[in-house]
Symmetry: C2
Subunit: 479 residues, 2 copies
């Protein structure tokens, strides 16, 4: 029996405590539809964390039980904020197994790479990318994008890994609706955010291809080296999908790297409703997406995929002597994650992704996504039918942007403040969690539906709350 000095002193009572926490956790997950969506952390609970550095041992499990209701709220069917996945209860089973194995999946020959390679193979198939492509499971799209842009940088500039890069040489292109993680990747990689040209959008918030071509041509004239075009499959503000085939064609003729940010939207390939508009992903040199969003895998897990294995590997492989592989033994194995990304120590994220795909199958995952898209269409109709709600953007996917506009002569600043207050009160009252964004400089109530638990009735409750609170606030003379 294990006898390390940090092992349980009494295995029976440890086992009992673990089963108790599991039951509490399952109870929480089972009743996730009930009660408030989000609750602020009570001061009494905050105080339990204000403690001096623990010198001696003490049992943390009671406090852990106390925190269960004070997460973000994204497991609740009326959580519509940002783009959070809802996760699934069964993820807990693979996490239990992972915790007991305590695997470092950075390399070597064990079951970790076996599982990860299989997940990557399935993902290449889901995304329509080449079978002999490569990839890596990462924490999420932010890191995936840094990896993808680094590979793009290094395949373009010989010796960039050794010599660094020349200031202002490389430039990239993405639409004004693209996610901030693209800009961040340019910052991290030393290219500078100004090297990422912001391409205007058409009325559907999709990248304008003519503007893209003009910008590329102008940059070439000015002596810059165009590096890449980043297309968006599901823009974070309102869900727009760029014309990916159109971008692919320009990237090909201009000899540019074609990256797709499919953070949540790429998962739409699992379903039928958005499938055709996403099929251009198959032509990408690289793709970043998250499992913890529309795939509904628990936090955190994302993925980066590449068309070409060797190009991917060439940007990261460089093992130190103490990490040299062997033909046999534990230092063997044909897939060392450290050759494909920046993390040397890595948890066993692959297991929960594999188990999730295996348990549900892609058909059920696709149906769940299509149901979300239909719910967004339902909400779009509900907004159109309400005199006091004004739509601010189309609903191409699963996100609605609209706002409450009372029959009063309010300027934009007042409407912004009113709608922001509506959102905060709906959150504070625990009714639902919408978030806000700006669409054409107007503050919008933003309803993102990436939750397999959401029903039409949840959207009805939301709409009613917006109308009620909007009217309540407009009666208030402080406006």
């Amino acid at each position: 029996m294990s006898k390390g000095d940090l092992d349980p002193k009494n295995w029976d009572s440890f086992r009992a405590e673990a089963h108790k926490m599991l039951d509490k956790s399952i109870d929480k997950m089972k009743s996730v539809n009930e009660g408030r969506v989000w609750s602020p952390v009570p001061n009494t609970l905050r105080d339990k964390f204000k403690a001096n550095l623990p010198i001696n041992e003490s049992n943390p499990n009671e406090i852990i039980s106390d925190i269960l209701p004070y997460g973000v709220g994204n497991t609740h069917p009326r959580f519509f904020g940002w783009v959070h996945g809802a996760g699934t209860p069964s993820g807990i089973i693979s996490d239990i197994a992972s915790a007991s194995m305590n695997v470092n999946a950075g390399g070597r020959d064990h079951v970790g790479p076996v599982v990860e390679k299989q997940v990557l193979k399935w993902c290449l198939e889901i995304m329509g990318m080449p079978k002999d492509g490569s990839g890596l499971i990462v924490s999420g799209t932010s890191i995936a994008t840094i990896i993808a842009m680094k590979v793009a940088r290094d395949q373009k500039i010989k010796n960039s890994r050794k010599k660094g890069i020349i200031q202002g040489q490389l430039v990239g292109y993405t639409s004004e609706q693209s996610h901030s993680c693209i800009k961040q990747a340019f910052d991290v990689l030393g290219l500078g955010t100004e090297a990422l040209r912001v391409v205007p959008c058409n009325d559907n918030f999709e990248i304008d291809l003519d503007s893209l071509k003009k910008l590329i041509s102008k940059d070439r004239e000015m002596g810059f080296t165009p590096l890449c075009v980043v297309g968006t499959a599901g823009a974070v503000n309102m869900g727009a999908i760029d014309d990916l085939e159109g971008i692919a064609s320009i990237a090909k003729s201009e000899n540019l790297w074609f990256h797709v940010d499919g953070a949540f939207g790429a998962a739409g390939l699992l379903g039928k409703l958005a499938h055709d508009r996403l099929s251009g992903i198959s032509q990408a040199d690289s793709l970043a997406f998250d499992f913890h969003k529309w795939f509904q895998v628990n936090y955190e897990a994302g993925c980066v995929l590449f068309k070409d294995n060797m190009t991917h590997r060439a940007s990261f492989s460089d093992r130190a002597e103490y990490l040299r592989g062997s033909e046999r033994g534990l230092a063997g194995g044909d897939f060392w994650a450290v050759d494909y990304g920046p993390e040397l120590s890595r948890g066993f994220r692959a297991l929960k992704v594999w188990a999730h795909l295996k348990e549900h199958g892609v058909e059920a995952l696709g149906n769940s996504i299509d149901r979300n898209i239909r719910l967004a269409q339902y909400l779009e109709k509900r907004v159109k039918n309400e005199d006091l709600l004004v739509s601010l953007a189309p609903t191409p996917l699963n996100i609605n942007c609209f706002r409450f506009v009372p029959n009063l002569n309010l300027d934009d600043a007042k409407l912004d403040a009113l709608n922001e207050e509506i959102v905060i009160l709906i959150q504070e009252r625990g009714i639902a969690v919408p978030s806000t964004t700006k669409i054409n400089n107007q503050l919008a109530i933003r309803i993102n539906i990436t939750n397999h638990r959401t029903q039409e009735s949840d959207l009805d409750i939301l709409v009613q709350a917006i109308l009620d609170i909007g009217q309540e606030l407009t009666k208030n003379k402080t406006l």
Copy 2:
């Protein structure tokens, strides 16, 4: 009751399956001292993963149970490979809670930041860094180092985030024993690996301060801009601790950023035996270290700490409109991780670290580390007393490097091959897991002790196995 289409169809049988997996996982952890250290994945198990993309649902739990014995082996007391923590069984309890909460800890106002801020506060105290410093929990030292070096880069070069950097301008310094993640950070950040000057070591494998000063001075003469010095607290090959006070003093007088790579070694501040040699960490501008190594938190969790909060924040903060914070509601909160690092979506790693520190207290964690250092000293004596074993490096901390040298006239190439084969056979026979490295161009058997379960008897078994297999191989005429 939850009714999303990915929720369990039958909660009672789901609950039973989760408890069953928990019992199997606890059984595995309880018997971790028994049996083989590492076993290759059997082909029958590999075959279970060679499946087509799952279209329909199926239960993954039987296969998950099957993989439990085929991890890396780092939970076993005779795992001495690389620098892997052994973890603790109780980590499973916080992982169960985390999985049920499915928190995205990238920002907003919920219990995630409350726990993370407390962990960071405790870590600043453990490391002797300023109370008003800052930090972030990350996946591990590799990402922590990229974050730290980016902050160093951006505080030195005005507008580097926007404009990128000038090729060949910035240079940094670290010893020839430092970890490859420093070089990788220079690669990722666009500085280029050649900008990282490799400083020779003294006979104790510590950075040579005179050489450091000369290199800085030479670079200044050549027109380069010295940026940073990276000190190592626990070199990966054999555990050397650089003269951190000496580096701090040079960094101060030369106006350089002082970063410490304390991946595993910084944890030595919890104990008594290495404490004084590590106290120079308190003067670092930034520190990277792992919880999943000598702290014994389960994979994966690392940390980056900074002396100055504003400098840290200035290198990452730049929120998009849809992420704008509020005074109230869920978009409130005073610690958004996205302002301090590259990840926007993040799991709730903070919980397991908090629970671990709370459960064990720093005294027990320190004792466990000191016990490992004493075990390395015990092994050093055992090696000295064996005629056929030759030590290749001193043992300043918890790592022994030595090799089997039979009474034969073998050249270095043959001795390298012999010792590599010894290590592989010990792994393949399941006796123990040593790894190898090169010390002064000679292949060493490398014994790293970062495992709270290791006993003197485990080292005796290891030494005997090396001697037995070494002699067995030298009788073999193929040598």
